[in-house]
């Protein structure tokens, strides 16, 4: 199933196309902006890997972490400092950036800097948030809530479309399987593709064990490579992973972020799998097992 193509970035930074038969796009970076120096260093290191592998990419990091389990957890550097850092990254690295926002009133300010506006999974059906994001005119990275069925994401898509914005990427980040546990249902990809928009797999949040450690989320990052190969084989258009140089010391999502030393290995396999998937689609056409057969 061939999706439409959305455009991210352009102008001062690289223009990235996501969808259709375009190359697999990587969205990645540290979960939170921890400091200017750390953000710049991570961007440079990830950029070097993506350049080496010739993988188009978008830098991801957030200024506000509003869904932390504990009130004492690191909440982020804040919007002013965070957007300054992201602006500097865009300027110096020429890479587009994606960042989420959790308050409809912050949509415009965020969109003035970032190329790609992310809707957090927990907020994926909030009309004020979706409408505010859509009205900025920027492409929207919409994560499927862990509690949402893939077919009901169409309602969220239509809330954005109602603003005239039809630049949407839909991402699966796991589905609640009882309490403190997620499972990956890969039927979500073809079902969300029925909207016509490209789809993405968030590998690092998919291995999260939500708030499994009292007031902190756990995670099983050892499963990331397996889940990535399978998701790319399903025909996703983009891959999302949070990457850190020292996950154990990360200020958020320490149990799920991928150590950067594994990034080249995983991205290499993902790229090869995606290219094989495109070749197979070219040779064999769309998946065509029908309900009546």
């Amino acid at each position: 199933m061939k999706s439409k193509i959305i455009n991210v970035g352009g102008g001062d930074v690289a223009e990235i196309k996501i969808g259709g038969c375009e190359p697999l796009v990587f969205l990645g970076g540290p979960c939170a902006i921890e400091s200017r120096v750390h953000a710049l260093e991570m961007c440079q290191r990830i950029g070097e890997i993506c350049d080496r592998l010739n993988i188009p990419w978008v830098y991801k990091s957030c200024y506000d972490k509003d869904s932390r389990s504990a009130v004492t957890s690191f909440h982020g550097v804040g919007i002013e400092e965070g957007l300054d850092i992201l602006a500097e990254i865009r300027q110096s690295q020429k890479v587009p950036v994606v960042c989420d926002f959790s308050d409809a009133n912050l949509a415009n300010q965020t969109a003035q800097v970032v190329d790609f506006l992310q809707i957090p999974a927990y907020l994926c059906r909030q009309t004020h948030i979706l409408t505010a994001a859509g009205k900025t005119g920027q492409p929207i990275h919409l994560k499927k809530g862990q509690f949402m069925s893939p077919w009901n994401m169409k309602n969220s898509v239509r809330k954005i479309e109602a603003t005239g914005n039809e630049q949407i990427l839909l991402t699966d980040r796991g589905t609640f399987f009882g309490y403190n546990m997620l499972i990956n249902d890969y039927r979500n990809f073809p079902i969300m593709m029925e909207t016509g928009y490209p789809v993405c797999f968030d590998a690092t949040h998919s291995v999260q064990l939500p708030t499994s450690m009292g007031n902190v989320s756990g995670g099983q990052r050892e499963f990331i490579p397996y889940l990535v190969r399978a998701a790319v084989g399903c025909g996703i258009n983009a891959l999302f992973m949070e990457v850190h140089d020292n996950p154990d010391e990360a200020l958020s999502d320490a149990n799920t972020q991928l150590n950067i030393r594994y990034l080249e290995n995983i991205l290499s396999q993902a790229k090869a799998t995606h290219e094989t998937r495109l070749e197979l689609a070219e040779r064999w056409g769309d998946d065509n097992v029908h309900v009546n057969d």
Binding site: S149, W151, I191, V291, N292
Partner: protein, 152 residues
């Protein structure tokens, strides 16, 4: 001419007697009286509209008012037997996904007799009525048509 459809009350009356010089515009249900919807109407919304309008026929039109699909009670029955999706997923589908896009239609100048024969031959209850550009003008439905005929 007899079509096998007779009405007896104080004397035999054939279809020809009932329909003399009348066209289907006399029995046309207008678009405001029938379930008319866009392609992206959810199945659940379509069923609600069909129930509200008390007609087992959903008419799917495009932005220009052209009829692009039909979905009937029978289609729903067959869909329920065929689909293995959860009902919540089926409800969230766009109606056009399940609508038939090839259908018989008539124009408003057709004789009632001819139209009723068409309904009878095809064993269907409804026929969409389109203008020369394919836009939906209404529907003829067997029961209101009979009611109209019998009351006059």
């Amino acid at each position: 001419m007899r079509h096998g459809l007779n009405w007896r009350s104080g004397g035999e009356m054939t279809m020809s007697t009932l329909t003399t010089n009348r066209t289907i515009r006399d029995i046309l249900l207008s678009p405001t009286d029938i379930p008319v919807m866009s392609a992206r109407t959810l199945v659940k919304e379509a069923l609600e509209l069909m129930s509200a309008k008390r007609l087992g026929l959903a008419c799917v039109i495009d932005d220009d008012g052209k009829l692009i699909g039909l979905f009937t009670d029978g289609d729903l029955r067959r869909l329920l037997l065929k689909s293995q999706k959860p009902i919540s997923a089926l409800f969230a589908d766009d109606i056009i996904t399940h609508a038939r896009t090839e259908f018989t239609s008539v124009d408003r100048n057709m004789d009632i007799e001819e139209a009723l024969k068409l309904l009878q031959d095809r064993e269907i209850f409804d026929l969409p009525v389109l203008d020369e550009n394919g836009r939906l003008e209404g529907v003829i439905h067997l029961h209101p048509a009979l009611k109209e005929l019998l009351e006059k």
